[in-house]
């Protein structure tokens, strides 16, 4: 504690060589000392007051429609999953103020709802996470009577194992997980997950920063199911991902498409919609593929958290999203396939006929839904942390 003392002691002695004793006594002209006290003081106060008043005025005056008591709705949704113009249109029509926060993994959503600190009225978990949340009593059953547009939904996406009878959820968008790549820079055509583990592409690969998707790719490559429950197989997949890590440029679940488009990576694991957008911009250069080993089929559903406080607003928004015209606008904005069957004729034909967005049956046949792994979850969390930490 006092280690610093001896060392510093010589300093004064050294200093005294040049220091002159009388200076010590010099009446200090400290600020505020003597005659220059009054004016600076006032100036300080003015500056402080202006500094504080300015932002408060800005903050209070600047927010139109921010009035207290205004109806509001807090939505927690995937990044790039809700076009801004759809939100503003709903705000105009309903007078409800919508706050949108985003996440980029199911696990982040679960963490938020579990911690009990979230204040959301609408969330969009994927299939397996929906199942977990229902089991954890984090969701509130839906009142079908308040959702007249329910009949618009595609029956193929209803009554699935993760939410029998759709008591808690409405399917919103669905799609696949595959690989987007730059055809000009990747020599051989890509049709296997192996491409993402190929040393030839070292430093040009992007993986989703998503536990289940990353493991999914590794497991499929091992000839296993995405929902493998054998701990040894999971460990082998983790080994594979660890070995892959030096080849990976970045793990990213929100920017994968734009990083591919910007040329930062040449191969990107990703979700079809955003990659399809990039492909549509330049079909000669980019392509999207669901590898032959298979891929993930996912169905993201709208659900209301148990702690939601703005139920009326939530139902109003759900009903709004069920309208075919609105659903079609969503598809136009995000380029993911809508669960709204009635919306399909209204979707821009260029998107409707895009095989990357609405995959042909052959592709769907080799895709699989992710399932909750139950008691294996901690092991998987642990293995993923180890991969990321490696």
């Amino acid at each position: 504690m006092t280690g610093g003392r001896p060392r510093s002691r010589p300093a004064p002695a050294r200093a005294s060589r040049t220091g002159s004793a009388p200076r010590r006594q010099r009446p200090p002209d400290r600020p505020g000392g003597g005659d220059r006290r009054a004016r600076p003081e006032r100036r300080w106060l003015t500056v402080l007051a202006v500094l504080l008043a300015l932002p408060v005025a800005l903050a209070c005056g600047g927010g139109p429609g921010d009035a207290r008591g205004a109806r509001r709705l807090n939505v927690y949704i995937w990044t790039n999953y809700l076009p801004a113009e759809v939100v503003s249109d709903f705000q105009r029509r309903s007078g409800i103020r919508v706050e949108v926060d985003t996440y980029s993994s199911n696990e982040a959503l679960l963490e938020k709802l579990q911690s009990g600190v979230a204040d959301y009225d609408l969330v969009v978990p994927s299939d397996y996470m929906l199942q977990v949340m229902v089991a954890q009593r984090l969701l509130r059953p839906l009142d079908r009577r308040r959702l007249p547009g329910f009949a618009n939904l595609d029956p193929r996406l209803l009554d699935r194992k993760f939410d029998p009878g759709n008591r808690f959820s409405l399917p919103y968008l669905w799609g696949t997980t595959g690989i987007g790549y730059d055809r000009l820079k990747v020599s051989a055509p890509v049709d296997s997950w192996r491409a993402l583990f190929d040393p030839r592409y070292a430093g040009r690969i992007l993986m989703l920063d998503d536990m289940r998707e990353a493991f999914g790719a590794a497991l499929l490559l091992d000839g296993r199911s995405i929902n493998e429950r054998d701990p040894a197989a999971l460990r082998r997949a983790a080994d594979r991902l660890r070995a892959q890590k030096p080849l990976v440029r970045t793990y990213n679940s929100s920017e994968f498409a734009s990083l591919l488009a910007a040329g930062d990576v040449d191969l990107a694991q990703g979700w079809n919609g955003e990659l399809a957008k990039v492909v549509a911009q330049d079909r000669r250069r980019f392509a999207y593929v669901v590898p032959r080993e298979g891929g993930t089929l996912w169905i993201d559903s709208l659900a209301v958290p148990a702690t939601a406080r703005h139920l009326d607003a939530a139902y109003a928004f759900l009903a709004y999203l069920l309208e075919p015209a609105v659903a079609a606008r969503v598809v136009g904005g995000v380029r993911y396939a809508s669960a709204n069957r009635a919306a399909r004729p209204l979707v821009d034909p260029a998107i409707r006929d895009d095989p990357a967005v609405y995959p042909p049956p052959a592709v769907l046949d080799r895709c699989e839904l992710i399932e909750d792994l139950g008691a294996l979850t901690p092991l998987l969390d642990q293995l993923w942390t180890e991969v990321k930490a490696h």
Binding site: D29, T79, G116, V117
Partner: protein, 304 residues
């Protein structure tokens, strides 16, 4: 006062640099005479000058690049494709951005008020000017130092744990609490440094002239401490406006502050709009500094 640094400086360096800084807030000693020609030791001066210039280049080049490219028409690349102001237009139409700016200013202003008041009180409590430390002050000292020492990520996680345990919904209020928590210490430390350098004789004189405790405080201590308080307040404002780490843990829905919004922009993709936002922020900051400098420049006696 005409030559050489004050010997006290050396005496002060004794326990350490940080210990020695704050007292200089009010250090009476004057710097060496400006008229004295710089007499450097025989270092290779040219090399040193080049290095220093390079350091400034290093500090400013990235910022300059952002500013320049905020006027670039190209969306994806760093190639120059012509001048445009459209990114600024986009920025001004971005409601989420404007909302984030409002949130940030509101939080910063409120945090500044709360933290400055509480921090100043604490400083007055445990470091009455010129007094020596008393045993009773030790716990307060430690309490006030800890938030400054602790890595931000730890503070954020701890606060999240607390809010979780209390089932407190995250909102602007939780952000405000977090900002006040990490700011109080800074104010207290800065104000205390200021107080420590004050001359107790002034208070004594006031008392001799019949001033009561309150009057001494209001008419002597407070005015003298004001620069320190203002410095603390400013520090809080800037810390609050710029905080990402702690805020990212405790911000709830509708509480997106500017750094959170910028972070999401950075994460969500490459758009030159960020360059425009950066440039606007820089301009505002520099303008503020300049105005403040102006305002405070002509204090009497400042020439000394």
């Amino acid at each position: 006062m005409t030559h050489g640094p004050h010997p006290a400086h050396f005496a002060r360096t004794a326990p350490g640099p940080l210990a020695s800084h704050p007292p200089r807030l009010s250090d009476p000693s004057h710097p060496p005479d400006p008229s004295r020609p710089p007499h450097p030791p025989r270092w290779p001066r040219a090399l040193l000058a080049t290095h220093t210039a390079a350091v400034y280049l290093f500090l400013y080049l990235p910022i300059a690049v952002l500013v320049a490219f905020s006027f670039n028409r190209a969306r994806q690349t760093a190639a120059w494709e012509g001048f445009t102001l459209s990114w600024y237009g986009e920025m001004l139409r971005d409601e989420r951005l404007l909302g984030a700016v409002r949130n940030s200013l509101l939080i910063a202003a409120l945090a500044t008020v709360f933290a400055t008041v509480i921090g100043t009180m604490a400083a007055l409590a445990f470091a009455p000017p010129g007094s020596r430390p008393q045993r009773g002050h030790r716990p307060t000292e430690v309490l006030l130092l800890l938030p400054v020492i602790l890595p931000e990520v730890v503070l954020g996680a701890a606060l999240l744990t607390l809010f979780g345990a209390w089932r407190m919904r995250l909102s602007l209020a939780t952000v405000l609490i977090a900002h006040v928590v990490f700011s109080i210490s800074y104010v207290a430390l800065v104000v205390r440094a200021r107080l420590a350098g004050l001359d107790p004789a002034l208070a004594e004189a006031a008392r001799d002239l019949g001033a009561g405790a309150w009057e001494v405080f209001r008419r002597v201590t407070l005015p003298l401490a004001l620069p320190g308080i203002a410095a603390g307040a400013l520090l809080v404002f800037t810390l609050s406006i710029d905080d990402y780490v702690v805020t990212s843990f405790v911000a709830g829905v509708g509480a997106t502050t500017l750094p959170l919004h910028i972070y999401s922009l950075l994460k969500a993709g490459v758009t030159p709009e960020i360059n425009a936002v950066s440039t606007a922020l820089l301009t505002v900051t520099v303008a503020l500094i300049a105005v403040a400098h102006r305002l405070l420049r002509h204090e009497p006696g400042s020439a000394g």
